[in-house]
């Protein structure tokens, strides 16, 4: 089932074309991605799932211009990034991409507000106050803006991270296990917020997760195993995803 994963006709905001990533060389070489081609649609929440070592994080890092693929193309918002130098990549991350990591998302010396506007400040761009207020309101963080990260709970820190990812209106937001360190209630809040930013603001989001419950929030789930996309599911539910995952594991065991 390798090769192109089609979609329901929506325009692609980011695409991978024959993307491969090999670590090391010679007999010790490890293939993390094996010529993956995939489109991520604009205005949709796409989840990438797979067991550890399946290459899901590598795929995201390559898509997000954090890592360079061994071969293949990455196209972000119509622009191929393979030839870009560090300066242009930095600029791309700053202006077109948003990030939410699993942990350590915030600069400890800056307040919540400063963390949220950080990408804009780095770019020297103006903050759109209406948009800023809307994002903050949606996240319910209005009364926490002057706090330092150390004064916020884990869930609140992730909300600040989400706000930072959205405030510059990036073409696409990459979220790497955004709820991996949170309890179930905080997780649900964050996932609900990501969902709403897709529905209400038309934001495109790609999220890596290993939790079927989280994947259920997505419009579409890609399943990765051994560096290849092995399956996908549109309009997933937690049960269906779990079922599919079990199937892979059984297949893995048999194979």
């Amino acid at each position: 089932m390798s090769g192109s994963s089609g979609s329901s006709g929506a325009e692609a905001v980011a695409s991978a074309v024959g993307l491969s990533k090999v670590y090391g060389s010679g007999p010790a070489a490890v293939t993390a991605l094996d010529s993956v081609s995939v489109d991520f649609e604009r205005g949709r929440l796409t989840a990438i799932m797979g067991p550890s070592g399946s290459g899901k994080s590598t795929l995201m890092h390559c898509m997000a211009a954090l890592d360079r693929p061994t071969s293949g193309q990455v196209i972000i918002d119509g622009q191929s990034i393979a030839q870009l130098k560090d300066r242009a990549l930095t600029r791309l991350r700053r202006e077109r991409l948003g990030f939410v990591f699993q942990a350590f998302n915030l600069v400890p010396t800056l307040s919540a507000r400063e963390n949220i506007t950080l990408p804009l400040d780095i770019a020297g761009a103006k903050v759109d106050p209406e948009w800023f207020d809307l994002v903050i309101e949606t996240l319910g963080m209005a009364d926490r803006l002057s706090h330092r990260p150390s004064e916020l709970s884990g869930g609140q820190q992730q909300r600040v991270a989400c706000a930072r990812a959205l405030v510059s209106r990036p073409a696409i937001v990459f979220a790497d296990e955004p709820t991996g360190n949170l309890d179930s209630r905080s997780s649900a809040e964050i996932l609900g917020f990501l969902r709403r930013s897709v529905d209400d603001f038309g934001q495109s989001i790609v999220m890596v997760t290993h939790d079927p419950g989280s994947a259920a929030f997505a419009d579409r789930v890609l399943f990765l195993a051994d560096g290849r996309i092995v399956d996908e599911m549109v309009d997933p539910s937690a049960e269906k995803v779990l079922e599919r995952m079990k199937g892979f594991e059984m297949a893995g065991r048999r194979g």
């Binding site: 600029r91 350590f104 600069v107 800056l110 400040d121």
Partner: protein, 837 residues
């Protein structure tokens, strides 16, 4: 546990290398000082040893009082000494100043060593004839080998010699070798009668050297001679004399080594901040590792020993390195001295066991003491910390400490201000208060970090926006760390600024005094040597010269005190120096009375007509009458003015000479013409210079500048150590923040922006230290100046230029210290940085 200690050192090698380098810089000055002074001491011991060769005992006048020089002995004593059966040979100590002049007309000498003239004795074995023969008559001399080499003259040449400052022509008939290196001193020998005439014109000598007949031991000779000596004379064996000379040299070199060791101590003190900082940061980084050690059963003591063990290793390595660097410093200093003196100084670089032991001890103790607090903190880590996710080691008590610091420095400043403006400030109290100000500032530094860093970073925040803000917040992240990094620089710069203020004030005050009080047109001087008496009398006869004051100098001892007596013609004195009288009159000098400065008169309740008992030079028991009190003068200082005849009684004729000659041109005379006449006159005296008051001021300012340069050079060491400290802190900070840097890069911070963040942090830290240091230095410098107002340092002059350069320089230092950490930060791989544990 030893294995863990060594692994700890290896795991953070760069940190530890930097720390060891800091230790080694401090220690190098300690080792260098000992090597240098040992080497110089060996040279002088060699001179003394060679000097007493062939001499069994020496006769000289007894010392009556500490500050009074020994009297001379009459030459007539020679006959009595020869009359003693055990005495084989008697050499009268004809000795004085003799300067050889080379072909170009330049004196062969340097300001650091004496120019010695001696009598030539054919059977003296301290000197061996290398070439030629002994001198006969006043027209012949013999010159010591290294002196002759420096002059470029040869046996057979006719040369000019300044004997007691008076020029004469003489033929060099021989060359002699003295057994030891003379360390820049020069030696010219005359035949006995010539030497006697030149150096003992009044029939007295400083002493006699004796050789016993064969079979007489030096002790027997001494005891026998002692029986016939008059009460005012004493006799010592050469061994005793040698011991005395060596002890004297030891105490003189003691001052030198104390002076140098003070700077070593400053360097080590500054280094201790670096060491403490490094260990604090490493302990903070290794909390989990150390907690794990505790969890698997290591005791607190063992954890403490692991950290202190690392300190021991670093201290030993640093100190060892320091000894090597010290050897380099010492040989450099000796080469410099040799270059300055024109002949080799020192006997290589002797490395004594004592030097190595002290250096190692100092290095290890300083390192371990500095690491003690971080080590104790490490030992308090509990095993459960190994399991925690986020461990923040918050130093407690910063506020209390800071407050104590502020209170201490405010009280110290107030007390200091009170003390230095008091009528007679006590230096010990000034020292205590200054120490309070400095230690208070060090304690308060973490509290002052916030406001000062905000101000320093303000322009960067305005112009660089988020980059400036990130840098500022990084600098403020751990104010104590920033403060102690900056403190290292603060100490060095405080001393530089303080010394600068004092030096600048000194120059301004001298210029002011000269302008204010010196009314003469020209000053004649010969460095530290006396000017031949004939200069003054010949200057008086020149056209256009109005009056001449020849200032002779003689020590006066009275009522357990010591002061300088100056002599000069009263009328001419009044013309060359502004000298208003409080009571009595200047002309009382001509009546054989003395004049005293106002402050001294007050202290002794003297008025015109008071009398007191004094020793004048080596002549005791004079009853002096106060003939007048003059207003305190900065040119004369707290010196008395004494009549010429009294001066002549106190100073043996052979040692008489003027230290200054003030020349006032007659009214309407062409000053340039007078100057060229004076120049023509002093030309043959070689060493005498003619300066107008401006040149005179300048030459004094030059002296101050030279001293200042030496001090700056020594203080520079502590600045170098401080720079290492900034470098170290920054490198560790970048390392600690790997993950955060990755995050910043991921959300779009460019490499150039990142390098500016790191650099601005370094600059802010350095400038913070510089600003604090300059403030403290200014304060202390002003305090010292105020305390010295009554001693003539009455004009405060602040070297704004120097201080501006210092602050600017510290900014550059920040940029330099940031280079390596910056390179490291921008090279971080974004993805790896984010996923760092």
């Amino acid at each position: 546990m030893l294995r863990i200690t060594l692994k700890g050192v290896r795991g953070h090698l760069l940190r530890f290398v930097l720390t060891a380098v800091a230790v080694s810089l401090g220690v190098s000055l300690v080792a260098g000082t000992y090597v240098l002074t040992d080497s110089i001491k060996a040279t002088f011991d060699g001179i003394v040893d060679s000097g007493v060769k062939g001499v069994d005992a020496s006769v000289r006048a007894v010392k009556v009082e500490d500050d009074v020089p020994r009297e001379n002995l009459p030459l007539s004593l020679e006959k009595d000494l020869r009359g003693i059966e055990e005495v084989g040979q008697v050499y009268p100590g004809y000795q004085g100043s003799a300067v050889l002049v080379d072909r170009e007309g330049t004196a062969v000498r340097n300001s650091m060593a004496p120019t010695i003239g001696l009598a030539y004795w054919p059977d003296d074995i301290a000197l061996t004839m290398v070439r030629g023969r002994g001198p006969q008559g006043p027209g012949e001399i013999v010159v010591e080998k290294s002196t002759l080499k420096r002059s470029g003259l040869a046996v057979g040449d006719t040369a000019q010699v300044l004997v007691q400052g008076e020029p004469r022509k003489a033929k060099i008939v021989g060359e002699m070798d003295f057994d030891a290196a003379l360390a820049g001193a020069t030696l010219v020998l005359f035949d006995g009668p010539t030497a006697q005439k030149a150096f003992s014109p009044d029939g007295t000598v400083q002493g006699f050297s004796l050789r016993g007949k064969a079979g007489t031991s030096p002790e027997q000779l001494r005891d026998r001679v002692a029986q016939v000596l008059p009460a005012e004379a004493e006799v010592l064996t050469s061994a005793q004399l040698q011991q005395e000379a060596e002890e004297d040299m030891d105490s003189k070199l003691g001052y030198v080594s104390t002076f140098l060791l003070v700077f070593a101590a400053i360097g080590l003190f500054v280094g201790s901040f670096l060491i403490a900082n490094t260990f604090s940061m490493l302990v903070a980084r290794r909390v989990r590792e150390l907690a794990l050690l505790r969890a698997v059963g290591a005791s607190r003591g063992q954890v403490l020993r692991v950290v202190l063990g690392e300190a021991l290793v670093i201290g030993a390595v640093g100190a060892g390195l320091g000894v090597l660097v010290g050897l380099g410093i010492a040989s450099g200093a000796l080469a410099f001295l040799a270059d300055q003196s024109g002949s080799p100084v020192g006997t290589g670089t002797p490395l004594q066991g004592r030097t190595v032991a002290i250096s190692l001890l100092v290095g290890i103790v300083v390192t371990m003491m500095s690491a003690l607090v971080p080590a104790l903190r490490a030992s308090r880590i509990s095993p459960v910390d190994a399991l925690r996710d986020d461990i923040v080691m918050t130093p407690k008590g910063a506020r209390i400490r800071g407050t104590i610091g502020i209170v201490l420095s405010v009280l110290g400043s107030a007390a200091l201000a009170g003390e230095v403006t008091a009528s007679s400030p006590a230096w010990s109290l000034i020292g205590v208060y200054a120490l309070a100000v400095v230690s208070g500032s060090l304690l308060a530094a973490p509290l002052s970090a916030r406001p000062v860093i905000h101000v320093v970073c303000w322009p960067f925040v305005v112009f660089s926006g988020v980059v400036g803000r990130l840098a500022r917040q990084n600098a403020l992240r751990n104010p104590r760390r920033t403060a102690s990094t900056a403190s290292a620089l603060m100490i060095g710069l405080a001393l530089i600024a303080g010394v600068g203020v004092i030096a600048e004030s000194m120059k301004a005050s001298v210029a002011d005094i000269v302008e204010d009080e010196l009314t003469s047109d020209f000053v004649l001087s010969a460095g530290n040597e006396p000017i031949a008496p004939s200069v003054a009398s010949r200057a008086e006869k020149l056209d256009g010269v109005g009056s001449v004051v020849a200032m002779g100098q003689v020590p006066l001892a009275f009522q357990g005190e010591w002061a300088t007596g100056l002599t000069g013609d009263s009328r001419a004195l009044g013309e060359s120096i502004r000298l208003p009288m409080v009571s009595g009159e200047l002309s009382a000098l001509e009546r054989g009375q003395v004049l005293v400065p106002e402050e001294m008169a007050k202290a002794h309740s003297w008025t015109v007509g008071s009398t007191f008992e004094a020793a004048v030079g080596s002549s005791r028991g004079h009853r002096l009458t106060v003939g007048g009190v003059f207003e305190d003068s900065q040119v004369l200082g707290q010196s008395l003015l004494v009549p010429r005849p009294l001066y002549e009684k106190g100073v043996p004729l052979g040692e008489q000479g003027d230290f200054y000659i003030f020349v006032k041109a007659s009214a309407g005379a062409d000053l340039e013409k007078v100057r060229s006449e004076l120049k023509g006159l002093v030309k043959q005296y070689i060493v005498v210079s003619v300066q107008d008051s401006q040149e005179y001021t300048q030459s004094m300012a030059d002296d101050v500048d030279q001293l200042l340069l030496t001090l700056y050079a020594l203080l520079f060491l502590s600045v170098v150590i401080a720079v290492l400290g900034i470098f170290n802190t920054l490198a560790l900070s970048v390392f600690e923040r790997t993950r955060e840097i990755g995050l910043l890069r991921a959300v779009g911070l460019g490499r150039w922006q990142l390098s500016r963040v790191v650099t601005i942090e370094a600059v802010a830290t350095a400038v913070f230290g510089a600003v604090l240091g300059s403030l403290v230095g200014l304060g202390l410098g002003i305090a010292v100046q105020q305390a010295l107002v009554s001693e003539g340092l009455d004009i405060l002059s602040i070297p704004w230029m120097t201080i501006g350069v210092l602050v600017g320089f510290s900014g550059v230092v920040g940029v330099l210290a940031a280079v390596f950490p910056t390179v490291r930060a921008v090279r971080l791989d974004v993805l790896k940085a984010i996923s760092t544990e």
